[in-house]
Structure formats: structure tokens, C-alpha cells
């Protein structure tokens, strides 16, 4: 029997469960020199905002044990240029695109959602309500059930059509399950777990925070157990809610771990910084592991770690 590597996120059908992570694949052009973008399940774009943004001052980055801190601050060209340049190029490559959007206000999410209707090659929308690199921590929508709900409702009301909405959540909360439940009730078709964790490194020579904006988002294998835990908890509570898992996935084994915890697809982020072809290696390794373990499809393995075991 042949192995079925395909998966779904809501009504988005993907040929395999390996995606890029938002903000870790540039515009797609940077990586296309190293592999055809169509080899991945989908390309998740950097988070697009209404207006152009310079992002934060440098230093923006600090390497940490098995990870890194970043404080890019959502640098980008704004939605007009993105729709004019990036979307047509990705469509021309035949890539399946998941657009990530980020707003400063609930109204921003509504405006952006309207701009995302009927775009070529776009199979889903990732709603970033959890970027840690914003001026006001109170503005991290996914840190509070009410603001998380408001942002997702704004997208749901304005998106129209069938495009699945995936809400990207922050791990920096007391109870991620309650936030996931709130966004699902508000109309999200799935959740992306997890965004980076807020962190800090102090430069002991300068005796100052290493990043210009002091704090940044921690990513990489260092956060993987936190991410796996979040995926496991949300899948246990909301088994029907599709989960896009991410957080420090560096090889096929790691991707398998997220699928066992309940993810239907996974995003590869920081690993791409260390290796431009990381996502392709992960895809190949995951397929080999799933086959070796005797699964006939991705579907069969999703949430397998939740099964009852009798001793």
C-alpha cells in the first residue's frame, strides 16, 4: 500500500505537512535558489501589515543555547507592495501560499482580511495575533481571550469565501487551551502553535541588554518542549481543531513529535537560518520515519501520542 503524505488544514489540502514558518522564508525568492518551493506543503509568508514598517533598530539578534532571540519588529513593505510583488511571484512558482497578517488594531485585521480575498495560490490565512516584538505588550492580542476573539472575529467577518483562518498563538500565557477555545469559537478554522517566547540576553561586556529593543522572541530547539506541550494540551482539549505545530523543529524526528502530539502540519523556522534546505531534509526524514513506524498516512499519526495505553 502506498504511503499518503498529504494533509489538510481546514479545507486547505496540502501534498505534505512541511511548511515554512512565518518570517523565516523571506519572500520565497531567497530560498527558491536552493529548492523548488512547490516541494513544500506550503510557504507561509512573513507577517504582512497595512503599512510599510522599518522594523526595529539593530542589534536585532542574539544566538542563545540551541536557539536565538530576534526582535525584527515586523519589517515589511506593507500590504500593497506585498500583493503587487510577492503574491504573483509565488503563484508563478506554483507554490501554495499561506499569507500571515498582523495588525495593530482590530480594524487593521478587518482591513487586511478584505485584501486577502481571491488571491492566486493562497490556500489559507495565518493570523498573527502573537508577535512579541511590539511596543506595547498589552497589544499582543493572543495574550487575552477578549482581544484574541476580537481580532479573529474581525478576520472571519471580512474574509468572505472559504479561505481557512489559522490563528497563531503565543505560549506566553497561563492557559493556552482557553485562548485556543476562544479563537475557535470566534471562527478560526485552526491554530498555529507556537509563536516565540519573550526573552532577554544581557551583554556582559557592555553590561546592557544585547538587543536594541531589550527583549526579543526566543526560537529554535530550546523552545521545542514548550511547543510540543502546547500542541498536546490543545489537541487533548479540542481534538477536532486543526493544529499547525512549530517551535524548534530541526529534523524529521522533531516533526514526528509534533504530529504525535496532535499537529496536522508543521512549520520550519529557525532551522532554515542554519540550513537553507532544512525543510526539505525534514520532509524526507519525516516520510521515512512515518513509513518505518508503519503508518499509511499522516492522518493516522496525528495525535497518536494521546492513545490509551494498557500495561
Amino acid at each position: 500500500m502506498s504511503f499518503d503524505f498529504s494533509t489538510t488544514l481546514g479545507n486547505a489540502a496540502l501534498p505534505n505537512p512541511i511548511l515554512t514558518a512565518s518570517g523565516c522564508a523571506g519572500s520565497g525568492k531567497e530560498l527558491s535558489q536552493f529548492f523548488p518551493l512547490t516541494d513544500l506543503g506550503a510557504i507561509v509568508t512573513k507577517s504582512i501589515m497595512i503599512k510599510a514598517r522599518s522594523g526595529r533598530a539593530t542589534p536585532r539578534m542574539a544566538e542563545t543555547p540551541s536557539g536565538m532571540l530576534n526582535s525584527i519588529g515586523l519589517q515589511g513593505p506593507g500590504v500593497d507592495q506585498f500583493l503587487q510583488n510577492d503574491i504573483p511571484w509565488l503563484a508563478e512558482q506554483g507554490a501554495r501560499t499561506i499569507v500571515s497578517i498582523a495588525g495593530e488594531t482590530v480594524e487593521d485585521y478587518a482591513v487586511l482580511a478584505r485584501r486577502m480575498r481571491n488571491l492566486p495560490g493562497v490556500v489559507a490565512l495565518e493570523v498573527n495575533i502573537s508577535c512579541p516584538n511590539v511596543e506595547n505588550r498589552g497589544m499582543v492580542f493572543s495574550c487575552h481571550p477578549e482581544t484574541a476573539r476580537a481580532a479573529i472575529e474581525a478576520v472571519r467577518r471580512n474574509i468572505g469565501g472559504e479561505l481557512p483562518i489559522i490563528a497563531k498563538l503565543s505560549p506566553d500565557v497561563t492557559d493556552i487551551v482557553s485562548i485556543a477555545r476562544e479563537v475557535a469559537d470566534a471562527g478560526a478554522d485552526g491554530v498555529a502553535l507556537i509563536n516565540t517566547l519573550l526573552g532577554m540576553v544581557i551583554d556582559t561586556n557592555l553590561m546592557l541588554p544585547k538587543l536594541a529593543q531589550k527583549t526579543g522572541g526566543l526560537s529554535g530547539p530550546a523552545i521545542r518542549p514548550v511547543a510540543v506541550r502546547a500542541v498536546y494540551q490543545v489537541h487533548a482539549a479540542l481534538p477536532k481543531l486543526p493544529i499547525l505545530g512549530m517551535g524548534g523543529i530541526a529534523n524529521g524526528r522533531d516533526a514526528f513529535e509534533f504530529i504525535l502530539a496532535g499537529a496536522r502540519a508543521v512549520s520550519v523556522g529557525t532551522a532554515t537560518f542554519g540550513n537553507p534546505t532544512a525543510a526539505i531534509s525534514i520532509k524526507n526524514e519525516l516520510e521515512a520515519i512515518l513509513t518505518e513506524k508503519g503508518f499509511s498516512s499522516v492522518e493516522e499519526a496525528v495525535g497518536y501520542a494521546h492513545r490509551e495505553v494498557t500495561s
Binding site: 530560498l31 536552493f34 522599518s54 539578534m61
Partner: protein, 285 residues
Amino acid sequence: MINQINQRASQVSAQLISNKRVGAYHHMSFAVGDLAAQALPGNFVAIAVGGEGSSMVLRRAFAIYRSTEKCAEGGLIELIVAPHGQGSRWLTSLPPHSVVDMVAPLGTHFGIPTEPVRALLVGGGYGSAPLFGLAELLKSRGCRVDMVLGASTANKIYAPLEGKRAVSSLTITTDDGSTGIQGQITDVLPSLIEENEIEIVYSCGPMGMLEAITRVSERYGILHQAAVEESMACGIGVCMTCVIPVRDDAGVPRMLRSCIDGPVMDGSKVVWDSKRKIPEGTFGA
């Protein structure tokens, strides 16, 4: 729509052919096959460090010292590495025949004038590395090449014998006076520019030095191509950490990636001294 980004780059398993200590640095040669033919002076490589399962998740970027297309080992890329961090210490401790994961060549290269010009090459510390290949190329195009190298102390001056062949004069400055003239590069720049009737300056080194060179070259109204140094996570344009503000044609600063829009940039367009702040009027600020 044709993609121009990273278009000469590939990812290869590069075998370390030799690793020699030279002063405070290591001269490292890697067999890279056909890829060597793609490299131009100013380009850089990005190397994964720490080996399998390393806790260092980011690549390290190094300017290419020299690339040779055809030699006994096939194509070679040579680097000058300063072992000042955990990743570069790991790299410089590798024995010959070790294999590293290398992505190269990356970034912009020094522009070569179409007509013979009088060029001054300025390097700070191991920033001299990419200038020797550039000197050879400029000389082969009929340019006169003068060079000035500066560092804090003598063993941090990298100036190999074979590298000096292409230059008409070599001036050295050290902060402590342990070799050459005591002082900084900028102390000798005006006289070198005047005496040699310099038309273009090429530079590579710490950002403070590049800023000072920009001020001098602007005073003389001459071009300045600077290879900038900003810490990078990926080297291929996806992480957005290595940005610096650079003025566009309308004079508006934009946060450009030094890995893709650099490392070689027009010095007069870079907004220097922008550490820890976004210049006023920056696009999207």
C-alpha cells in the same frame, strides 16, 4: 519575473584542505569544486558550525579571501578567520580533511571600473582578507592599486607576501605602533589620497572605520565602496537581522539586508552610526 537573489549560491560539503595559523588569525582553504568559479571579491560564505546536533543554530559568515578555480584539489575557497567566538573557535580548531556545510558565494561584490583607475584599498584587521583578491583583479584591469591596512597591534595585521604583489604601495598603521605607523588608518588617508591621486576607495573592516573612511572620501569627492560588517543569522536574506539603513535614490533611508544588498555598498549612501536606533525619516518608521 526573474529572481536575482542568491542566484550564484549553492550549498556544498566543503573539505578543509589546510588550516594554518597566521598571527592572530587562521588561513583556511576549502575544496569547493566548481563553486569557486562563481566567487568574486567581496562575496562571502556562510558555514554551519559545531557539527551534528550543535547547540549553535546559526551560520557564521566569512568574507572570501581568495578563490581559485583550478588547482590540485579542484576549486578552492580560502578564508581568514579570527577565532573570537564559540563558532569561529570551533571552525579554526578543525583538522584538515574535515568537511563543513558551506553556502557560497553570497552577497554583493566589489564593483570593478570599466576603465583603469587609481584605487586605494583600505582594510581593518582581518577585513583586509577580501582586498588582496580585489587588488589582483584591479591590477589585471590596468588599475594602479595602493593599500593601507590598520589594526590594534602587529599580529592583527593580515598582509601575506603573495597578497602584496598586486599593490604599488602598502602602508600599515597600528594603534600601539608595534608595526608601521602608530595611529589609525584615517590619519594617513588624506595624504595617500592626495599623493596617489586616488579616484576610488574600497574598504572592509569595522563599521566605525568605514564611517570614518566615508567622511574622508566625501571630502575628496571620490567614490567609496565599503564591505559592511553586521551580525547575521542566515546569510541568505531570510532572517532580517543584518539590516542597516541605506539611502535610496530619493534619499530615504531603508533598512536593507547586508547579506543581500551588501556586504559591498556605496559608502555615501549608508547611514552610519545607526546602532541601537532607526534614523529619522526611515521608510516605514
